[in-house]
């Protein structure tokens, strides 16, 4: 079981990535997940991260089976 990665709104366009499953090997934190899917692209300053649909910071530890999401500031309502 790996980690499911999701991107939304402008982040989906920035990374050209909507949803992807990655292997857990070498992944400890949310920041590691970012490096795996984004390569050399820097994380925009205002990026929000979520683990299992709850906001988390980039140093949050992730486990196999987790869902990790990256997205810009929210603009609903």
């Amino acid at each position: 079981m790996g980690i499911k990665v999701k991107c939304f709104a402008s982040m989906r366009e920035y990374l050209d990535l909507s949803e992807r499953e990655i292997a857990i090997d070498g992944i400890t934190t949310v920041a590691d997940v970012w490096r795996c899917v984004a390569g050399d692209k820097p994380m925009p300053e205002n990026t929000l991260c979520a683990v299992n649909q709850t906001q988390a910071d980039t140093e949050f530890n992730v486990s196999a089976g987790d869902e990790v999401a990256f997205f810009p500031p929210v603009t609903g309502g």
Binding site: T54, P72, P73, T75, G76, G77
Partner: protein
């Protein structure tokens, strides 16, 4: 997507920390009729006589933003997290105020100016709780719930709305 919690029993209605109040969270892609939603929730989940105040907020799409004419909008969200976090802000509100019920409905997909985007409705015995909970829920929705707007301008270009303003300070 629609989740509704069961109505509490009459004897527990003053014990707001022990039991969840009736609440409904909906994310819909079809047109939103605020008044029909409010009427339906009230008749389905609330008892006449138990509430004395209903505060409602309806957010509607404007045809201008940041000095530009806006001709359309597409709203997207994070399915699953949206509903989970909406339930969370309702849970927080019911611990802060004495409420009889809360309804939140939000549109996604393509919208046109004049279309209702969101409703927040709060029922309470008294107006202070209804007004304040409604305001706080709306601000929490604007700042915490994963929805995103992309606007189409009159020259047919589009752009993501970058951030929401703080409703308490702007």
């Amino acid at each position: 997507m629609h989740s509704t919690q069961n109505a509490e029993s009459p004897e527990s209605k003053n014990n707001r920390l022990d039991k969840e109040i009736p609440s409904s969270v909906k994310v819909i892609s079809e047109p939103l009729d605020p008044w029909q939603e409010i009427t339906t929730f009230q008749s389905e989940y609330l008892t006449q006589g138990e509430f004395g105040a209903t505060a409602t907020f309806v957010g509607t799409m404007r045809d201008f933003n940041e000095g530009d004419d806006v001709t359309g909008m597409t709203l997207e969200h994070y399915p699953g997290m949206t509903e989970k976090q909406l339930q969370e802000i309702i849970h927080e509100a019911q611990h802060q105020w004495t409420l009889n019920g809360v309804l939140i409905v939000h549109r996604v997909g393509p919208l046109l100016p004049g279309d209702p985007i969101v409703i927040v409705a709060c029922w309470s015995a008294h107006r202070a709780d209804a007004f304040e909970a409604c305001r706080q829920l709306m601000e929490a929705l604007k700042s915490r719930i994963p929805f995103w707007k992309k606007e189409t301008l009159s020259d047919e270009s589009d752009r993501w709305v970058e951030k929401n303003t703080d409703g308490y300070t702007s």
